[in-house]
Symmetry: C2
Subunit: 549 residues, 2 copies
């Protein structure tokens, strides 16, 4: 297992750092400036193969404290790296993009500042988690549904948006459903984007663009500022909600399904982000790598995969999405989906509250029977996806991160933390045209690469826009094995090269590839560097995050 | 009538300009570098009260020529102002934001570079007009509908997006439905945004954000570069299309309608941009100011407005939108709209191809009867709005610009050009929360201001996002009257002040207010100035366009 990078900070000396630390202790309080080995080791725990250790961690409690902390960092020339909750699993977890940074942990800024039930908006701080927010809405009886990702209840809403994460509902293309940021720049300036800088504006959370250039895109996947507040959009709880699962019999069936799905997404029949996972995604949600069945340790054989599919009662691919609206509209959309998706070789099922409650009621008296218990587990799993499509997060989708972990799945998935639990996980998400041909090509390129490096090929294709799919490819590896850790890194690099060559660039990167890609000579990255130079000339803000320096 | 601003260029001397002009003549050809008085006068014709005259006009035919022209401008320190077709009616028409600029007229770059019928995208140049594009799709039999605005067939698609214009269809929030820009910066660098800078990317038109900061927002409403190419999104022609009009009896009825409409827009029943115009918007589409009925010349009396409403058979407000989808879905949405919008005091009608064709067929043999001819005109008007909601532009919505023009409506609206025809027109579009209360408040504030300055209060509220309305307020004035021209300017300023004070900032400005607003001390405008300094240090790109300088 590699130790955290020990590259020395370039600009920061021990004296500078000491001065900054004493300023922060004064402004934030001793308890919120962490410099001990144990703390720094904990923050540097990472699912990736290249953890980066910070110089210190500061934990401001308010926008004012962020401003003060940034000013002190600027004065003493100490680079900062903001994290919201630090749960950027599979990309960088809580780690800075480069060595020599002080982490600004925003998790204490966890206030839900306002919710507007009529206009379906909220304003939140970076420490607000999707679990906290979902609970708040349910407890307060507010009839709004937020978007939700599979990354578990403890992840930050703002943090995910700023890494351009996507979820499951019609608001799943998250960075497209925000309005009004407050951002602290490297000189301590507080910028309100959109209409937020107009005194008394009543539309800051409603019309993201404001007047003049729209700056929000600058602060997503960048190191240009610390976002301390954001307006996010929600959906009104619909009169009806129906969830569909389409199970495909054979591996090759996905291309045709994608072709049939595209028009349904383009015409708005399916407004949610549809996720299409292969069998290994489903298998890995309920068990870790079955060493007893596959003692040689490489990727599971196709025979074993088929056996596990049959035992679990699912297919080569599982396709899931939600339908929302008035009862008549949902019924009409369900008819359209049936008419345009149902085919031989596909099992198409619809679920709603009534059906799921009924299944549980029928099974309850039978739970002592092994078959009924297995069925109940399946219903529980189904309910978790069903709930996620209406904005309620679940920790159970983190299970895949534990696939190759020697200790297997955690005792209690509810408290799972793949980074602290020693999971090995790298995510690579190339973006493809929403066509069957592109999906076939991407699978054809990727699967042999996974095999070559000895890994199982986990993939989900998600309809992030109506025209593009994001293919999240998961490299799950044993972090206790130096060989597997090396192989995982090599597999990632080979995959990235293959996907770029095929014309499928990734929408999100891990820090080491950020700097590699951003160092190309393209005018785009030059422009990003110029903008960075204008807003952060001393380079104290998240150096190396989606930029050369 | 004021003459074009004669402020002297700050940076450009005659010698500089002469050198730049000879470089352009060499690179673009003599015919495409205009310096004659007649040409410059024509470009400076404006509906606004403060036309600005350019130093010269250059007309590049390609991206390469734009790059060459920008390099020459940079070398000789001559500011450039790009226009696509120059039809930015009511805001700035073809005029630069400040004096001392050379116009870069991109109208010769009018190629439709590609259309992807499966993924519903196209790549166009800035000279492509919405009329040209709509005709192209119809002629080629491509089953895609573009978005469309009321600004007439001759307006540029890209130009409108870059001023954050909005249209009528589900893609009406236009700047949100583009993907992949090519932009020439002030140093002649060609930047490809999104994934466009990855060699061989196959998703540039499909996933706008790319990886790293998303720059597109920087080039909308700014003077940071010249956009020479853009990917735009279209909608597949739906199986069914239905258009609804809801007519409200009384002026005060709009607030309740807005409250009933919001949930329908939030839940996606109505995906199009719904436009809600007051009676004067409808009246002015068919006639100019009736001096014979209102000889005193001020705003039309309420009695006269009621009389014209009764004669025309429309109400105090006309609300229009489109429904799209499979037959069953459109039927279900129609039922929802009927259930949730139909009320006493509202007349709700649905139209489709069949109904409109039937109306024309019934009327045809009766057209010699005056009543039938009037009815046919109404059907024609209806068809124009109906067509606009499926992407087919019409010139007839420009009629309102002629309201106070002494010569009245043009002989042939098809060749109308409000700037060249001497119309006086100022548009101010404050953004409001999508609530009845906000609409009531905005009308209550604005109408007395229009009255005070002697103008009729034209307003349309449009559901640009699901949460915000843009209220386009029209000041139509007689440009041949210096008093009215002054009053129009004063009315605009008073309105802007009142709307800002109420918390309703505008989404779009005319050039003089751009510079006033951008000169405030807010961190937002300071940041815009910093970004401008980074990308255009010499200030040669569209100085004063949504910026201080």
């Amino acid at each position: 297992m590699p130790s955290p990078s020990d590259r020395q900070p370039s600009a920061t000396t021990k004296a500078n750092l000491a001065e900054a630390v004493s300023a922060w202790r004064r402004d934030l309080g001793d308890d919120h400036v962490l410099t001990g080995d144990g703390d720094l080791a904990r923050y540097s725990q990472s699912t990736t193969s290249s953890p980066v250790r910070a110089l210190a961690v500061i934990r401001p409690a308010s926008q004012e404290e962020v401003v003060a902390a940034v000013k002190a960092a600027a004065e003493h020339n100490v680079p900062l790296y903001p994290i919201s909750r630090g749960n950027n699993w599979g990309y960088s977890d809580a780690c800075p993009a480069t060595a020599g940074n002080v982490i600004v942990d925003l998790s204490r800024m966890n206030r839900i500042l306002s919710v507007d039930a009529d206009l379906a908006t909220a304003i939140v701080e970076p420490g607000v988690t999707q679990g906290q927010f979902s609970d708040y809405l349910l407890n307060e009886g507010i009839a709004l549904w937020p978007d939700c990702t599979g990354a578990g209840p403890d992840t930050s809403i703002i943090g995910n948006v700023l890494d351009r994460g996507f979820g499951h509902t019609p608001l799943g293309n998250r960075a497209n459903h925000i309005s009004g940021m407050e951002v602290v720049l490297a000189d301590g300036r507080l910028v309100r984007t959109g209409f937020g800088h107009f005194d008394g504006s009543r539309v800051t959370s409603l019309f993201p663009y404001g007047v003049g250039p729209h700056l929000d895109g600058l602060f997503v996947q960048s190191g240009l500022g610390i976002v301390t507040r954001m307006g996010i959009w929600l959906m009104p709880k619909p009169e009806a909600y129906s969830f569909f699962i389409c199970s495909l019999q054979e591996d090759g069936d996905i291309a045709d399904l994608v072709e049939d799905l595209r028009p349904l997404r383009l015409d708005g029949t399916v407004k949610s982000v549809v996720h299409m996972g292969n069998d290994l995604r489903v298998i890995s949600s309920g068990m870790s790598y079955p060493r007893h069945l596959s003692p040689e340790g490489g990727p599971l054989s196709m025979a074993l995969r088929r056996q596990l599919r049959a035992a679990g009662g699912f297919g080569a691919w599982t396709v899931a999405g939600g339908l929302y609206g008035a009862k008549g509209q949902v019924a009409a959309s369900r008819r359209e989906i049936r008419r345009r998706l149902a085919r031989s070789g596909r099992q198409l099922l619809f679920f709603d509250d009534r059906k799921l409650a009924l299944a549980s009621r029928v099974l309850r008296p039978l739970l002592r029977l092994p078959k009924a218990a297995a069925l109940q587990r399946k219903v529980d799993a189904l309910r978790a996806v069903y709930d996620m499509n209406r904005g309620r997060p679940s920790p159970r989708f983190l299970a895949g991160a534990y696939w190759r972990r020697r200790d297997g799945l955690p005792q209690d998935i509810a408290t799972a933390n793949p980074a602290l639990d020693g999971c090995g996980l790298l995510w690579l998400p190339p973006v493809l045209p929403f066509t069957g041909e592109a999906v076939r090509e991407a699978v054809g390129l990727a699967e042999p690469i996974f095999s070559r490096y000895g890994f199982d090929f986990f993939v989900t294709f998600s309809t992030v826009t109506e025209r593009a799919l994001s293919a999240v490819m998961t490299i799950a590896y044993d972090k206790d094995s130096p060989e597997e850790t090396e192989a995982a890194k090599a597999c990632y690099d080979a995959l990235l090269t293959a996907m770029l060559r095929a014309g499928f660039p990734p929408y999100r990167l891990n820090p080491s590839s950020m700097q590699t890609l951003a160092s190309t000579t393209s005018a785009y990255w030059q422009t990003v560097a110029d903008l960075k130079g204008a807003l952060d000339p001393a380079g104290i803000m998240a150096p190396g995050r989606y930029s050369r320096h």
